[in-house]
Every structure is written in structure tokens, then in C-alpha cells.
């Protein structure tokens, strides 16, 4: 038994017989320095501990040690248990000159400061927006609005999923307007901030000033209006401001993550107004657009990267432009740091976790069945049971489609999970939904929102 083990065992026993505070105070940083011929020398950190252990706890310690090694006869203490801090001979000098810290103000990058007044970020302009089939309508509408403020497409409503460029388009309108005529009053605001400002103005009793401020605006851009849902007072105030501006032919541009119809608890009069102008959607960028975005960004950042590597990124990150850019940024930074050519292998290794984490792990057919049945508001039992009611058949097919596309289940497996159906049923369902998705917008949205729910909740 080494000294260390011996002391640890003894401490375990001593700890039982004295109070915790005492134990911590007196036995912290102690050790056995030597153990010869039944004489144990305990190293203690200071003179107080030495006195105390020798005079008060001597018997405890001796008893505890003898229980383990009966040959021990005597215990004494010595100060300086810590091994003299393993001398750092090549020590730092006693004094070192302080370094001058240079406090240069960062060069003011005019271009990239968000203006306080209109909240516009100058980096979002039409020139650097990549147009593809998924967003060309929205882009054209926005551009048209920026050229004919308030005269066509009022209000303009843009909707689409996260990270697809809504904000970019919206802010581009504002920046374009300001470029042409800096005296125009432009305001970009998220609906959340709009709500907060409104609440503040109500609290400080400056609601009139709030209204007046908004009524002077030439172009009002409200981002993420879906957050207005459920906020009745805000909706009402917004309705009045909206009407007022609309009457004066001031341009209003709105964005949301879904169509006005799909926003729950949005007042009818607001919804009809939102739909009264022009509605354009931004959907997921197709492969070509993603490639175009990647190669433009790579050129902007001065990164030389092979097309195959870009191709890999574009193939694997499909949902979201922001993620796409994030992935490319990661490649850029990492290849700069390690000084390596971003080859296909390198990129795939680097992005493996991003790509893997894109899909949440641990999703099973149960989650899909739950998500589908709750989306279509039917019982999970109905979905699995053998019946061919019309309202159940479609959801069941969607569930099969999702099991195939999201989880890569085998067709027989899918059939079995959904009430022991034949694998041909599953094949049919998958084909049917896949085909229908190509032309049925409604179904596409449904599937998208089920997927969203699926990946968000679990």
C-alpha cells in the first residue's frame, strides 16, 4: 500500500468521526510524507494544522492508521506538504514592460452600418441578390415596386420559409429607394419591434406620436408579419396605420413565413388587405440557384474552390440559403486557418456534422404518424386502421411518403408500420405523392409544414 493510498483510507475513516467543517479545515492539503519503522510523518500546509493535528486529532489519526496498518506506532506532523512548486527555473522575469495597447477606432465602414432611422442594412441590395426560378417572381415584384413606389402592387406581400431571402429582397427595396432619392422616408421594421414600440408608446402615453411617426412614412416595410397573429391591439393599430398609408398611396411591403391565409388569428380585414395587392412567394432555391449563390460568394470572398466541392455543398444543403452561406463560410475560414486547398474530401469531412445535423436524429415512424395525424386532425388509430375513408386515405399516403423520403424505410416496412399493408400500397402511395407534389402547391405546403413540425418538436 502506498503512502497515498494509506492516507486516503485513513482520511475516509477520520471523516466519519469528526464534523465536516473540521475535516475540511484541518485535513485539506495533507499527505503522508514518510512512513518508516512505524513512524508516520504527515505533511500539513501550515502551523495551525500542525498544532491541531498533533494535539487534538492525534489519537484519531493514529487509530485510523493502525486500523489499516497495525505496525504504526507514532504520528507526527511537518509543515510544507506541497512539493516545492516544481521549480520553474526558466521563470518569467520579475518585471516585464507593459505593452502599449493601441486604441484605434475601427475604420468606419459606412456601407455596413445599419442606419438607426430606417433600420436598413446597406449590404442588402438588388445587385447581389441571386435570381433563380424559385424567387424570380418575388424579385421582379420587389424591383417593380422600387421603381414605381406606391403605384403598382400595393401592398406587396412576400412569403416563404426561413433563410430564403425575404429580408434581403425587402431591404433591397428600401435601399434602392434611398439610393434614388435619399429624402424619402423609409422604415424597415419587424412586426415584433413594431409591437414593442406600440406597447412602449401606450405605456408612456405617446400613442399619437407613434401614429404620426408612421403616417409620415413613404415606404413601410414590415418583416415577419406572422408574429402579429394573436396580438389584437397591435393588429388594430396596424390596421389603422395601414389604411392611412394606403389611402395616401404610400407603399407598404410585408413579409411572412406563410401565405396570409395560413396565418392563424389574423383579423379578417387585415388578411383581405394583405391579399389585396400582390402576393409573391419565395420557395426553396433549386440546385442551379444554390450553385450560383455559392460560386458568387466564393468569388466575393476570394476563395478558389473546385466545382465538385461547391457541387457537394449545394447538393447537401438544400433547405436554407443562410445555412448554405454558413457552410461556405466555414469552408473559407477553415481552409484559411489550415492553409489547405478546399478539395471535395476536405469539404465533405468539414461539413459532415452540419449535414448530419440538418436532419434531427431519433425521428421514427411514430413521430411521422403523430405529426401527420395532428396536422390533418384525424385519429392515429384511423390512420393505421383498415378503412378507405377519403379523409384518411390522403394523410395515410402522405405518412407513407414521409417515411420513405425522410427515414428511408423499406416499402414492406412502411406497409407493416401502417396496419400491415402490402408493400405495393406503400410504393403506390410514394409515387402518387411524389408526382402530385410537382404540381399541387397546396400539398407541397402541407408536406413542408408537417416536416417543419416533425423536425421542430421531436
Amino acid at each position: 500500500m502506498t503512502n497515498e493510498e494509506l492516507w486516503r483510507a485513513a482520511l475516509g475513516e477520520i471523516e466519519l468521526s469528526i464534523s465536516k467543517a473540521n475535516f475540511i479545515t484541518w485535513f485539506k492539503n495533507t499527505s503522508i510524507l514518510s512512513n518508516n519503522d512505524g513512524r508516520v510523518i504527515i505533511g500539513v500546509p501550515n502551523g495551525f494544522a500542525k498544532e491541531w493535528l498533533e494535539n487534538k486529532y492525534n489519537l484519531y489519526i493514529l487509530k485510523a492508521l493502525r486500523n489499516i496498518q497495525p505496525s504504526i506506532k507514532e504520528v507526527s506532523c511537518a509543515i510544507g506538504s506541497e512539493k516545492e512548486n516544481a521549480f520553474r527555473e526558466n521563470q518569467v522575469d520579475a518585471i516585464i514592460p507593459p505593452k502599449r495597447v493601441v486604441f484605434e477606432k475601427p475604420p468606419v465602414e459606412k456601407n455596413f452600418q445599419i442606419s438607426q432611422e430606417n433600420n436598413l442594412n446597406p449590404k442588402y441590395i438588388f445587385e447581389n441578390f441571386i435570381v433563380g426560378s424559385s424567387n424570380e417572381l418575388a424579385r421582379a415584384a420587389c424591383y417593380a415596386v422600387s421603381q414605381n413606389l406606391g403605384r403598382i402592387y400595393n401592398p406587396l406581400f412576400i412569403y416563404g420559409g426561413v433563410g430564403l431571402g425575404k429580408t434581403h429582397l425587402l431591404q433591397s427595396i428600401g435601399n434602392e429607394i434611398l439610393k434614388k432619392n435619399p429624402s424619402k422616408k423609409v422604415k424597415y421594421i419587424t412586426s415584433e419591434r413594431f409591437t414593442n414600440e406600440l406597447i412602449d408608446s401606450i405605456r408612456t402615453q405617446k400613442i399619437n406620436e407613434f401614429k404620426e411617426h408612421y403616417q409620415k412614412i413613404d415606404l413601410l416595410i414590415i418583416d415577419d408579419v406572422q408574429f402579429l397573429s394573436g396580438k389584437e391591439k397591435t393588429q388594430e393599430e396596424f390596421f389603422h396605420i395601414f389604411n392611412y398609408l394606403y389611402q395616401l398611396n404610400k407603399q407598404i411591403v410585408l413579409s411572412s413565413d406563410r401565405a396570409p391565409k395560413a396565418i392563424p388569428t389574423l383579423e379578417e380585414r387585415l388578411r383581405s388587405r394583405f391579399e389585396g395587392g400582390m402576393i409573391a412567394d419565395v420557395s426553396k432555391a433549386d440546385f442551379e440557384t444554390r450553385m450560383a449563390i455559392l460560386s458568387k460568394k466564393a468569388v466575393d470572398e476570394g476563395l478558389t474552390i473546385s466545382t465538385t466541392a461547391l457541387d457537394f455543398i449545394a447538393q447537401n444543403i438544400t433547405h436554407n440559403i443562410r445555412e448554405l452561406e454558413g457552410a461556405l463560410n466555414r469552408v473559407i475560414v477553415s481552409s484559411q486557418l489550415t492553409n489547405r486547398e478546399p478539395t471535395l474530401d476536405y469539404v465533405s469531412a468539414l461539413l459532415s456534422d452540419i449535414i448530419a445535423s440538418g436532419k434531427k436524429k431519433g425521428i421514427t415512424h411514430k413521430h411521422i404518424i403523430d405529426a401527420v395525424s395532428s396536422f390533418y386532425d384525424i385519429d392515429t388509430a384511423d390512420l393505421i386502421m383498415k378503412n378507405r375513408k377519403k379523409e384518411v386515405v390522403k394523410p395515410r399516403q402522405v405518412a407513407m411518403y414521409l417515411m420513405r423520403s425522410e427515414l428511408q424505410y423499406s416499402y414492406p416496412g412502411i406497409g407493416e408500420k401502417l396496419g400491415g399493408r402490402d408493400h405495393t400500397t406503400a410504393i403506390h402511395a410514394y409515387d402518387k405523392i411524389s408526382k402530385e407534389l410537382e404540381f399541387n402547391k397546396k400539398l407541397l405546403e402541407d408536406v413542408a409544414s408537417i416536416k417543419e413540425q416533425l423536425y421542430n418538436i421531436s
Partner: protein
């Protein structure tokens, strides 16, 4: 325990021991002061397990005994006692009954059995230093002690016992101070020389010195006796015993940093330097508190300048006595000011070689105007 003592003695004893009481609460009894009768007097002891203090005062003992009492409580009580009357103490069960004139108190205590034993010295004192001299030195070196726990050895004051002098040094790795005490001013025991040969450098925790300086009364000159033992140091002054742990470790070498020769010497009034530096520190910018000293040897002028982007700028021109070549050096104004503040003479000397080597601050003899050795404050200029 039953006894009577004078209020003045009692107050002083409580005051000196109360400060030592631990702030950490692992062991509640460390918040207490131990009162015990010993050698026909009353002894008060307190410790935080790093430093221990025992104060012995005269008392008329009627009955021996001991008890521990919460330090905060007793000191608050004693502080508010009307002056003059003697104090009588009596232990009844686990409480201390205090009576002074018309005031009475009964304070609940804890058993003295659980109070830590204050270590006692095994050997005789080897040093006997005049208390005011030591207090003076402590106040000079303590400014430079590091509070940074990462380098344990810098949180103390380094003592080097030599045959002709004792050196006290402290540094926080930005500046360094060394003060020497000539052995002629110290009474050493006959074993001092032998002692030196075994071990002659010790690092005393800064706290210990701070407490010691507080215990040393500034108007009565007396002697402090000192002895070092394994891992600890013992002091005794006027019936007060102080024991403290020593810091383990090796103090960094600093001798090679102190320049032997200087190219430029500035001598001026201490308070003029202080004023100008304080003023400029208002303007000095950022964390480094930069001030520029422009020394014009031809004109015999010193220009102290500070500027910051946010605040503005300031400069003061001082007429000083300059020997040597012109210089322009950048300092952290705080470090420079600290050095000048510790100078005890009315004039101060700043000695330097160039803009990047260590600068020394020394004292000037009041009568002869010579630069005094024995005390030096070293500060590094800020590199350009």
C-alpha cells in the same frame, strides 16, 4: 474565568485581534476571539489559519478560565462603551458577562476547547527591528505586491537576510520595489550568522505585513522581534504575538533588472510631480494610462503630456534639475505615481537610460541633496 482590566487595554486588544478573524465560514469558531487567562493576565487570540494573533494584557485575575466570543459582536460592544471605566469579565456557563460602569452585556460564546491552537515558536528570536522603521518599509513595499493569485510568490514580500542588510522586495511584475534595512539599525541575535547559512530568503504574505503595520502604533517606538521557522514566521511586539505562514516558492530574480548606471537624472519636488501626474492621469487614455515624459536637458524642463481620443489632452511643464541627456519616455501614469507616492523625502529622483529600459525612482537626502541608496522603485516604460 473572572477578572478585571482597564478599558484602554481591553479595547486595544480586541481591536488588534478582531481584524484577524476569518471571513470564511467553514469553521464557525474562526469568527471568534479566544479569551483566556494566562500568566496572571488576559490573553486574546484570533486566527484565520493563515495568520494568528495573540494579545496579552494585564488584568486582575480572580478565577482562571477561558471562552471564545464572536469577534464582531464584542468589538461593536466595546467600541460603544463610554470611556474611562474599568471592565470586568466573568464566564458563566457558555456566556461571557461584561460589565463596565453602567453598561452590561452577556454574550453567548463557544467552548474554548474547539479553538485552533496558535502555533508557538520553538526557537529564539533572531531579529529585533525598531517598529517604526519596519512600518515605514512595509508601507513602501506593500504598494507593489501582486494581488493576482496565479503567481503565489508575488503575493508576498520577499525578505533576504544578508550579513550587512536585510532586503525587502515586492513586485507585481509591472513594477518592483526594493528597500534595504542596514544591519546596524537592527539588533540581531548571536545565532544570526548561522541562521543565514541555512536559509536566508523568506516570502511573507502581504496580508501579514498589512496587519503587522496596523498593530504597530505609529507614535510609540518599540521593537519587533522576528524569527523564522519551518513554513512560518513569528513576530512579537509589546505583548502581541503574530504568527503567519510563509509563502512556498521561489521569488523571481530581480537584481539584474535594477540598472547600475543611468544616463539621465531628474530631481524635483515630490509634490510637484504628484500634482502634475495626477492631473495628467485624468487625460491618459485607456487601460495603460499613458503619459509621456519629455525631458529637455538644455532647457532644464520636464514636460508631462497625456492625451486621449475621447477626453482631450493636457500638458504641464515642470522646472526640475536635469543631469544628462534629453529623453522621451512613455509611462503608465498610475505606476509612476505610485512610485513617487512611496518616496518619503520631500524631493524625488527619477533616473533613466532610454525609452525602453527600466526607470528608477529614488529618494533624495534632505540636507545634502544626494541620491539616497537603500530604496529603489523600478518601473518599466511603455514600449513604443
Amino acid at each position: 474565568m473572572k477578572l478585571t482590566c482597564t478599558q484602554e487595554n481591553f479595547k486595544k486588544a480586541v481591536f488588534n485581534s478582531e481584524r484577524m478573524v476569518s471571513r470564511q465560514n467553514t469553521l464557525p469558531i474562526l469568527n471568534n476571539i479566544l479569551f483566556e487567562t494566562e500568566n496572571g493576565g488576559l490573553k486574546l487570540s484570533a486566527t484565520n489559519l493563515e495568520i494568528g494573533v495573540s494579545v496579552q494584557i494585564g488584568a486582575k485575575i480572580e478565577e482562571e478560565g477561558k471562552i471564545t466570543i464572536p469577534a464582531k459582536l464584542i468589538s461593536n460592544f466595546v467600541n460603544n462603551l463610554p470611556a474611562g471605566e474599568n471592565i470586568s469579565l466573568e464566564v458563566i456557563d457558555q456566556s461571557l458577562k461584561i460589565k463596565s460602569g453602567s453598561s452590561k452585556a452577556v454574550i453567548k460564546g463557544l467552548s474554548a476547547e474547539d479553538f485552533p491552537l496558535i502555533p508557538k515558536k520553538q526557537t529564539d528570536f533572531i531579529l529585533n527591528i525598531p517598529s517604526l522603521k519596519l512600518k515605514n518599509i512595509i508601507s513602501k513595499v506593500i504598494t507593489c505586491v501582486a494581488f493576482n493569485e496565479t503567481r503565489q510568490e508575488l503575493t508576498g514580500v520577499n525578505l533576504v537576510l544578508k550579513e550587512k542588510e536585510i532586503l525587502f522586495a515586492a513586485t507585481d511584475s509591472f513594477r518592483l520595489v526594493e528597500s534595504s534595512l542596514k544591519l546596524e539599525e537592527v539588533n540581531v541575535s548571536s545565532v544570526y550568522k548561522e541562521f543565514l547559512e541555512k536559509k536566508n530568503t523568506f516570502i511573507i504574505p502581504a496580508n501579514t505585513f498589512v496587519e503587522l503595520a496596523r498593530i504597530i502604533s505609529s507614535d510609540i517606538e518599540s521593537d519587533i522581534k522576528i524569527v523564522f521557522e519551518e513554513g512560518q514566521v513569528f513576530f512579537e511586539i509589546d505583548g502581541t504575538d503574530v504568527v503567519s505562514r510563509l509563502i512556498n516558492g521561489k521569488y523571481p530574480d530581480y537584481k539584474h533588472i535594477v540598472p547600475v548606471e543611468f544616463k539621465t537624472r531628474i530631481v524635483g519636488e515630490k509634490n510637484i510631480f504628484q500634482g502634475a501626474l495626477k492631473m495628467s492621469s485624468v487625460f491618459s487614455s485607456g487601460k495603460t494610462n499613458e503619459v509621456v515624459l519629455k525631458i529637455d536637458a538644455e532647457e532644464n524642463k520636464l514636460l508631462i503630456e497625456a492625451r486621449s481620443v475621447e477626453v482631450g489632452e493636457n500638458s504641464s511643464e515642470l522646472t526640475v534639475d536635469i543631469v544628462g541627456s534629453s529623453q522621451e519616455v512613455v509611462f503608465n501614469s498610475k505606476y509612476l505615481l505610485d512610485g513617487i507616492n512611496t518616496v518619503m523625502t520631500s524631493k524625488v529622483a527619477i533616473l533613466m537610460n532610454n525609452a525602453s529600459s527600466p526607470v528608477a525612482i529614488k529618494e533624495i537626502d534632505e540636507k545634502t541633496g544626494e541620491v539616497l541608496e537603500g530604496y529603489v522603485y523600478i518601473v518599466m516604460p511603455i514600449k513604443n
